[in-house]
Symmetry: C3
């Protein structure tokens, strides 16, 4: 699956909705046993949640958007398919979450590409299930430090503490992703799926049990005037940077 929503594959409500529908179709298609996620946009895997969906909109819109983000994660992290992230560009915040939710992460070794949950830099807080997914991947201490600092890590650093599993030169990425997929598909589906579910169920169930509460938390938090102000400033900074 190739993300192609220029300029930066930001996760708008439309993008997320389409992603969820595609995932549902593939999940129900018995022919499809695995998915590789990569980007068709140069230098960026995904820039994360689209800030315009969280700024200057109605409370209903925020709630609808957040339910879609939850849905995306529940489908990805709980997928019964083999999921491989072929990270061929920078991947902050929600982009990093997509990679973290896969079974395996391969990243292009390019000193310009960065990855991490940098929400704190924007004055916002990663929700508990971003955190749970992160802790399950890199452990409690690395997650604590990285989340508090909102760190964006180079590919090498991310590899060093296990945020990505493997680094490859750009031209080897697709080949490597295919080889990894073949390795995982060599296992009997049923045993692999039950094992995956055993590893991830506790964290998935936690969001399912608190889903509406989490929507309310998000809506209350994001609609605060102080947060809206931070996001507006951030968007202006991005616009200036672009021009």
């Amino acid at each position: 699956m190739k993300f192609k929503s220029p300029p930066v594959n930001s996760l708008s409500l439309d993008f997320i909705t389409e992603l969820c529908i595609s995932l549902e179709k593939l999940e129900n298609n018995r022919e499809c046993r695995g998915v590789i996620f990569t980007s068709a946009v140069p230098n960026i895997f995904s820039s994360g949640l689209d800030i315009t969906e969280m700024c200057g909109k109605s409370l209903e819109h925020y709630a609808e958007f957040w339910r879609a983000v939850q849905e995306m994660w529940l489908r990805l992290y709980g997928s019964s398919m083999v999921t491989v992230a072929a990270v061929n560009g920078s991947s902050p915040a929600g982009g990093c979450l997509i990679a973290l939710s896969c079974d395996y992460r391969i990243m292009v070794q390019n000193p310009k590409f960065i990855i991490g949950l940098n929400e704190a830099q924007l004055g916002i807080v990663a929700p508990f299930w971003f955190k749970d997914t992160f802790v399950n991947t890199v452990g409690h201490r690395v997650a604590e430090r990285s989340l508090q600092l909102g760190s964006l890590h180079s590919a090498s650093e991310a590899h060093k503490f296990g945020l990505v599993d493997e680094l490859v030169p750009e031209e080897k990425l697709q080949e490597k992703a295919a080889a990894v997929m073949a390795q995982w598909l060599a296992l009997p589906d049923h045993a692999r799926q039950l094992t995956k579910s055993m590893m991830r169920k506790a964290v998935l169930d936690r969001l399912v049990a608190h889903r509406e509460e989490d929507v309310q938390n998000f809506v209350n938090f994001i609609s605060k005037e102080s947060i809206q102000k931070s996001l507006r400033l951030y968007m202006e900074m991005l616009k200036k940077k672009k021009s």
Copy 2:
């Protein structure tokens, strides 16, 4: 304690029952403060659960067998003695569990010796308490990947991510195991035992609380025709390999 059940120290019902009785005796013997587990069979520590106990037998037999496996783990992981695994051969599946349940793991550095929870390769699923023991040793991410792939790791790889604590040349194994035992026995028993219990209690209690449920899960799973077929194919493959 030397495992001696040729050809591969497989964990049959008899073997496990005898192991549990020995452990109980040692546990109740105030003179005995520690046990080193090793193998008297060349090139193999233990090949894991005996597949013949799980194939073509009655439901009652499966239940009896599983209760014995649970008992073995509860005794080993919860032992108040110092337990050291001196792994002098390959140690897949249940053999790996025995090593994981000890306080310290030393493995012979031999490129032919492998260790891991490879259940998924056989089309079966490691139970949650195998998984909990594994996660407590190597962390969530390594466990997730290794369990899903049913990986068997070389001694070097196992050492790299903490599945074993130390590698030694074969001729140094017993000496090293004795030195480690002496180091652990230098601590006051009472404080060491309470500390061990504090670290392992949550995971032990989880099986105790769900023991019969876990037996039923195992019996239902293993008696499925599809699983029985996988196991029969696997046994035939082993027989061919041998001849």
Copy 3:
């Protein structure tokens, strides 16, 4: 904040009470956003809980002392300020706990300086919330082994498995601590504080929910004749070592 209670900055009831009052004042002072902890006593950061408070005193005294230790940890681990430990000397037991409770640990690279939760060496057991703090920092396996052996680690070893985040030569310590503090303070307070709380809340809440039970456990344990005897022997050993 410089610890200055010669000869070894031991955590007496008076020392802890003063520390708690200082922390409360700083916490309520909106001008103060971060604290660096270091020692004014050469070669020692803090020697940990003062054994004289736990030996030959009344049950009421033990209870009062333990409530103060709990209070200190709750304030440190749950602090909304940025907390940096600039560990410029050895830091066993309770001294290690102070470092573990900070957001970041820098230690002087001196082969004589050691750090760890060595309670088991004294025949006592680190309470569950020392253990939780340790596991959150170094992971389950390292904590299990280190706590059971009551290990005191060299600075290099401590750095290797993440018990400290960074090593520096003695003359660079203050400069480095200030640089780290500046890095953490560059983040918006609100987002950083909420993130910190999300990471640490489960472990903090666990003590809050069992606080009186934990006091009773401590009082019952420490007042046992066998434990009192161990502590008296340990104190005599320390006195001989000194003279």
